[in-house]
Symmetry: C2
Subunit: 346 residues, 2 copies
DNA sequence: ATGAAAGCGCTAACAA
DNA sequence: TTGTTAGCGCTTTCAT
């Protein structure tokens, strides 16, 4: 069996309180400090965090609930957060809820049972009922990427509206007037914001928004394929399309290939996320890229902050807004003028 | 504060042993069972797993150490495993070690400190020194995707050699004789096996293997880009290339675009993993696809099995071999004959 | 600065 | 079947 503090106590002849004090940054006489350290290495002692957790009511564990782990956007964020949290002694328990509200609730209940110290959530559910249980127990919550109603808590967001507006404006500036959008689900925050950005750009340019140019997908590859198909068929004069997440962008490219369309000759495209994929497309895709590293860092820091300042509850809600970025490719054609030609090989 | 068993005891007038017995499947008189259940819902009682863990020396937690979480292959496997483990009450703590041996060791130490009940590992390190600590403590280990020396434990593998041989044979059958391979690092199991498959196919076909056609990358996108570049420059007569993981496949496609090569006209390509990406390529990529779901299921089941049969230690080592699968695309040209033409648009 | 002792919430051995 | 009790390994008063 592993050594316990009792063993250290026996080995050094010191009391438990001294040993504990040593591990918790208390004052221990230099001589005893030495003795303890000797005992530790002699006995290969390691603090039992489970026992400590029972006493302190902390598990040094953070729960993370996300819609899909095999979604590059989520994966990148988790990678970043996990790194920081671990460096501070916190384990990350991930729960993938498959973009399903019921499973999301199950995951939250599970994490609550596991007594995580805090929760980081990219919510599927939009009214935040499940989150309340955490809040009631005084456990900090940080929402990432999506804001929801029904709960007031810290969150890290991206300025989706701005990013989408910029993307749409680029298209408008290049002379496109019939721009399709493959949007996300109606009730998802990011999706709504991106659509608003699209609309705003049109309003600023005084170009009417046509319903037929808006397709609501569900952020999956298949809905990207289908969205492209629908938009193309419904809108014979559409010259550009803006796709609002990576999976649907991938789907759109599949659709474009299957329909044998030429980019940007037949259709200009602006995608979302995943720079490597954009570079692998031919021609390279112009995309909106999101700052996953920054999101991860902010979220981890906020929750660590809350965990440290456990007492000062009634502090202000923290809201961080990160900015997306346009990564230029060659998938947008300039209309009217002829400075970009149509033929593109492979 | 949350209710404890003591509260239930007080509420029902029953002793702690009875309550505990109730929660651990013991025999409890129907009448008392009812009472306990009433108390549970009245007090919103939930077992405190931390306390239980202290007593039973179990945390109901599994550690997972992988090289890169934002690697679709890893992400898919984790998604699958997490799902199954959670359904059995086990939390999954993921640690991404960034394909770095030192970080991998740190992650293992961390998980040991967190007292996980078992470990699932896709190893970066090849001699298994770090794993020994788990084994010595009687904690089950399941290796996935990669076999390593220096430790005898359960593992779930893919028949990489076979998959690579089939892919290479396809190219040979189509008349290619100068086939490049973008292989992985020299000391990684999967990489070695895939290379062996490539060599075997050549030997069977009595076609000599040329050193200049072998490039060793490191499973990253950049090494795919570079690998393609090197191979093309070194081998003017190379007509096909086999790329042995997803990231490098993505990199190769980037390289192909940047060099303005036509597929399969100038170069036939067989990639690896990620069917969606293969479909998004133009022409669609022929790839070797790996059974991530199956790997996940097997790994989770093995570790759960070991956790259940804690006592019967000296059982046989379990080794599961899953099969990859070729997914045909249009990226392989038939040489000599002219049944596939060169020009491919967009 | 250190020691003694109580107790976190649970399980399990023993008695009844 | 049920109750009593002693820990699991730690933290934390309270004395000293």
């Amino acid at each position: 069996m592993a050594a316990t503090m009792k063993d250290i106590s026996r080995y050094t002849g010191l009391g438990l309180a001294t040993i504990s004090s040593y591990f918790n940054g208390g004052n221990v006489r230099e001589k005893n400090r030495k003795k303890i350290e000797e005992a530790i290495s002699a006995l290969h002692y390691e603090v039992n965090e489970v026992a400590r957790g029972l006493k302190t009511n902390e598990t040094k564990t953070i729960g993370v609930v996300i819609p899909e782990l095999n979604n590059i956007f989520c994966a990148e964020i988790i990678t970043g957060m996990e790194d920081i949290l671990r460096s501070q002694g916190y384990a990350t328990i991930v729960c993938d809820c498959r973009t399903n509200e019921a499973l999301e609730k199950e995951a939250m209940d599970f994490l609550l049972k596991k007594r995580v110290d805090g929760l980081i959530n990219m919510p599927v559910d939009t009214h935040g009922q499940n989150l309340l249980q955490f809040q009631n127990k005084g456990k900090p919550i940080v929402l990432i990427d999506r804001r929801i109603t029904g709960i007031r808590c810290d969150c890290v967001l991206v300025d989706n509206r701005n990013a989408a507006r910029e993307a749409t404006e680029l298209l408008l500036q290049k002379g496109h007037t019939e721009i399709g959008i493959i949007s996300g689900p109606r009730d998802v925050y990011t999706s709504e914001e991106r659509l608003k950005g699209y609309v705003e750009a049109h309003q600023k340019a005084r170009i009417p928004v046509q319903e037929s140019l808006i397709y609501h997908g569900d952020y999956t590859i298949e809905s990207g394929v289908q969205g492209l198909d629908r938009l193309v068929r419904r809108n014979p004069h559409m010259t550009a399309v803006f796709v609002t997440n990576y999976e649907m962008t991938l789907g759109s490219v599949i659709g474009i290939n299957e329909r044998n369309l030429s980019v940007p000759g037949d259709l200009s495209v602006i995608g979302y996320d995943n720079q490597a994929f954009a570079r692998a497309c031919s021609p390279t895709l112009t995309i909106v890229s999101q700052p996953t590293g920054e999101i991860a860092r902010e979220a981890a820091e906020i929750i660590l902050h809350r965990l440290r300042e456990k007492e000062e509850q009634d502090e202000e809600q923290i809201v961080r807004i990160c900015q997306g970025e346009m990564i230029p490719g060659r998938s947008v054609r300039t209309m009217g003028g002829c400075d970009e030609t149509l033929s593109v090989r492979n």
